[in-house]
Amino acid sequence: MRPGLRQAMADLHRWAGLGPGWLLFAVFLTGSLSYFRPEISMWTRPEIRAAEVVDQTAALRSAQAFLERNAEGASRWLIELPTPRLPLTQVMVWQPGGPGPHYRHELLDPRAGTVVQARPTFGGDFFFYFHFDLHMPWRLGRFLVGFAAMAMLVALLTGIVVHRRLFADFFTFRPHKGPRSWLDAHNVFGVLALPYHLMIAYSGLVILMMLYLPWGADRLFAAQPALFLAEAGQSIVPPPDPGPAAGQSDLAPLLTEADRHWPGEAPGRVDVYWPGRAASRIVVTLGDDQRLTHAGERLVFDGAGAPLPAEPGQVRSAPARLERVLYGLHLGRFGGWPVRVLFFFSGLAGAAMVGTGLILWTAKGHAGRLAETLNLAVIGGLPIAVATFFWANRLLPTGLAGRAILEGGCFFAGWSLAAVHAVLRRDAVAWRTQFAGVATLFITLALLDGVLTGRGLSSGDRLFAGFDLAFLAAGCGFALLARLCRARRGGA
């Protein structure tokens, strides 16, 4: 290899990695939390006692009764059936025209079919949307994250070229050697989870490709964007004219039909286009937690519940199938909790790879004060923000107006506070202070949560006990990091 090439790759690696590095760290951390999106959604609503396994047919029946009472004249109902992970029915209603809101989302008690009584919160959705949307207006966050993912792909590929001793240094970590140690850690976190890093960056880009590269589809499907999604096999195009009113047929028997088609696999959602109208279409989609691909196989019925023949979109082309596989890989909903835990730790390894890379840059003494400040504000600050969010969920009064938004506000307030601290002081003591702060927040939350909700470790509640243990583990991890900061300061 020409010597110039490796140097060029090293420069590219540095700039592709450093530029979006702080953003990537945040995306990796909140994305890893998103693997537990339903669990976080249940934990943040402690008023809901998780039901035992819920009968899907009963849940569908109660949801339909709710929608017929509360969503008359809607253009579409979407019913997400309860799962063991999120034992609640979710209903979404689109109601264009008319006085009320055009879109509604409700969580229902699967048995009673009433809106659940719980504190208003975004729950796990907060981290899920943050990790690709950053809660920014005009899809700005999605573009920023897209650029960051593209840069990360470049950084990964150039990193492989730059890393001369990929196999010789496979297990190597040499502590107490300054930048050398940070480089070793950066390499270990990067190489050992390399398949995951490549997959997650690439699939993330593919999931939002129609946002990043819309021009081809725009040209071909300008008049009917929905037709593109139908041809790509992602949705159906309902008849444009709803037709006259014609009482809504019973949805529950369709689950029996679904069970005949997918024996042993539970359906995930039921879509009703033009409910209660003559041209109604009902779509039953397979749940997304059983197969690698997020293909979402579906059955289409007319308003009376008679099955309709498969449309052209049902037979997908190879690229459309590949896109669905990448989508499923990115979401990581298959394989139950062992796979989820592996994905979670791979994601944390990604955050650690980015974090050690950023610190390596400043440890070499090349970077300015801005980089040092940003390092502390993001690597120390984001965990503080996450812990603040969980604390806010427990402490904000349940009747507060705009409570769900305020929880998010607390997340950003905690982060801002850490950032201000990082601006004022960014030495080893400041790192120790922030890590000790995270450790305190998590450990006290684990200990006090049982008192606040009555559902702690001792109550035998598996979900809550799991969260308490995870908070304790996170707290101990950050306490260890704080100790290491002290050791480093003493040594240097």
């Binding site: 297990f171 190597t172 270990v188 690698l292 390894a349």
Partner: protein
Amino acid sequence: MLMAFALVCAGWWSVAAAMPRHARPMLGRNLSPTWAAPVLRGLGAGLILSSLIRVAGLYGWAIGPVAWLGLCGAGAMMLVPLLTWRPAWAALPVASLLILGCHLSWIGPP
């Protein structure tokens, strides 16, 4: 799954022991016969591959390889701090994992 993880860890241990840098701290002496390194490396590769077969048996060949790649990363990640701070003891957790894995897969619940 635990057995598959144990196989991956044993495989990585074996691969690491075949590397000149790790052999001495791990085994207390240099690898003596010249064929020891390739044998250890082959053994490690075999163990890691057998773990793939085991995971694919549990999850099928669609999800199996994905879970297996995750296991490979996790196993290696566990070994790195051991090789850094307690190289001679690295065999201990690996062996206990193997024993526990065998116990659970042949005697206890799957």
